[in-house]
Subunit: 406 residues, 2 copies
Amino acid sequence: MMSATARPAAPAGDLDPSRRNNLALISSLVHHHGVLSRAELTKRTGLNRSTVGTLVGQLVALGLVYESAPSGEGQVGRPSPDVRPDPSTAALAVNPEVDAVTIGLVSLGGQVQKKIRFATERIPTAREAVNIAAAVIAGMRSELDASYRITGIGMAVPGLVNRADGVVRHAPHLAWRDEPVARMMSEATGYPCLADNDASLGAEAELIFGAGAGRGNLVYLNGGASGIGGGVIADGALLRGSTGYAGELGHTFVRTDGKACHCGATGCLETEVSQAPLFELAGLEGGDAAQLEEALRAKDSPELAAEAARQLGFLGITLRNAVNTFDPDTIVLDGFLGVLHSLSPGTLEGLLRTQALDGAADKTRIHRAALGSDLMMIGAAELVFTGVLADPAGIRELPVPAGKAR
Amino acid sequence: MMSATARPAAPAGDLDPSRRNNLALISSLVHHHGVLSRAELTKRTGLNRSTVGTLVGQLVALGLVYESAPSGEGQVGRPSPDVRPDPSTAALAVNPEVDAVTIGLVSLGGQVQKKIRFATERIPTAREAVNIAAAVIAGMRSELDASYRITGIGMAVPGLVNRADGVVRHAPHLAWRDEPVARMMSEATGYPCLADNDASLGAEAELIFGAGAGRGNLVYLNGGASGIGGGVIADGALLRGSTGYAGELGHTFVRTDGKACHCGATGCLETEVSQAPLFELAGLEGGDAAQLEEALRAKDSPELAAEAARQLGFLGITLRNAVNTFDPDTIVLDGFLGVLHSLSPGTLEGLLRTQALDGAADKTRIHRAALGSDLMMIGAAELVFTGVLADPAGIRELPVPAGKAR
DNA sequence: CTGAATTGTTCTGCTAACCAACATATTATG
DNA sequence: CATAATATGTTGGTTAGCAGAACAATTCAG
């Protein structure tokens, strides 16, 4: 009998940390920029031409990028081939909301290939949301198997989510509590699944592909039917916190003796600033931010202006706090918060200039979200891509598409 | 004539990125833990025994660590030598305040070897502070040259500091504006100098050597004569922001229609919560936090209790915001904020439990600062050590002590 | 005193990056 | 249109640094 001497465990799985780093570096650059010539890659990475050559070759073999004919003209010298993210490598995105579950297919590079919004009669339970998503994904299955390599599913949930284990601690507007959605989703579909807070993912998406492209310090605030969500990118990385619940700016204190919030406190931003009174004053029964904006621009009532000003004041307090705590270069407002800002340009900037600390506010720019309705899909997919890009060689263990689409 | 073909530029200066990383990893571990056996180092780094051997050898040669006889007994097998930070490698720390300039000498490993508090008649200007520090350092010079290798000077300044260039943007209580203190200090002493916000450095010090040891998400709040400073460690790294001004929790909004703050806003924590009324009610003319605590414990007046409760309420609002935004595992209160908390244990925890979002507050622990009066010295020195530990081999260019002290 | 356990030490091999020389493709120039 | 200049891909050789194996050292258990 042979005694079981400890064997190397992993057959061949992983490579040198140095290689992994450099592969991650290059694939991330390509993913974030969309197109990058090999020459640009050598400049940005600081690596040797020959090294970049082998690395790109390896990434091509892994199906993460592909090289195409040089486009850059007007340059002296031998043209450098363009390196692009391979769109056949993709992730699925799931975003449950109070009135719908949206499922998307997002390619490496951030292209939303497909988006299906499944409207629900009533607020979906976690089980219902998972079942809906699983059914839609099952419907897409043959197409997915044929043309894509799916690296996983990302879920963007409006609530407190523990990114580490994918458990929704509490999603007040969905009335979910301690739901292990990632595991449920994974079991229902067979794909690995990760979950995180929707606004946090929105912040990441805007940072990489949207209004904050190229920046490193971004505060994202989204106002929707289910309150105000926040996500923060600090020094280039998403703020997570010890349990992954960081960034909940919707519950910033903005008013003494304010109304009670469902969170247990009083005077939260979310209770003072909401879209319901705006819709009412605009004479709308419901709808999205675009419809609200149109109605508000058309209507010219003093009550409406007063309400908007009131809300902007409270929003200003939150932004002032955020600027003092994070010193961001970019603030991105989405949903009806973006509408409020657009209708009264300069107001928030003015508040910040007078109220926030000296140095911090000067450089901060306030933008509206740039990615629109694709935002959540891109953010959720990014959750998956982040893992893939961190160790590109690890992708080998994933199922491969029968015939790649390009 | 020889054409000047591009030469390797740096003679030999830097090593492989991989080596640099591993050296940084090991030296940081030793610096943070104080003592670590080589065997433990191999476990923690995951590197091979032989590799750790060479790396430690290199660090010994660089004068950053030294090995001593094994202490760990009761273990089977060959004993592993202890690796400790070499205390002859040190940094100088400077902390200007409204009524004094404190200069310290801190060894690698965080030991404060010397601390000199130079009381000033009036608030020092930047020039005066630099001159005082330079004079004290000049006095120590022969000792420094004989026994230490000084890796630089770290300055902890109560105000907005741009860490990148060492310029104090605005220190309201010192009445400094746009003072390039790091450059001034460097020119006055010949040592390289870095500067940062005092509370940010306090947060780092508490994270590494104090109440937050081993944690990754920490909020530090210090209440002193010159207001309330804040520093935040998020996911293991100090929160800096785009210009380095992040973490100013002293200007969190806590009260509608509150008093006007010097920062331009109203209702800031710093205006509502201050030590002056506490000192007054305690019947003290001045003094430090310890004296205040003693007086408050002795005195049992309802006015004092009411004022303390009022201030704790506002502090609670700030902490609630901080918990919702950062989801920290540890909150550290220093100065009179620590006193307030100690006098009424459980109050802040109670406020958090009811007011902050579900998941976040449960795990958050509130502590008083553990490092006392050494905190600023350690934090400021850490500013220098961080750079040294990030590239241990770069230390070779620094002056070497004539005869090392151990 | 012997054996087991653990760790330091030495030597060898492999991986991956860099470098230099050469090949290639484009623009600029006359 | 030919040639020079420029920039970049490609190839082969060199080197740094880590892992692994074999061996030596040191301690504990009995």
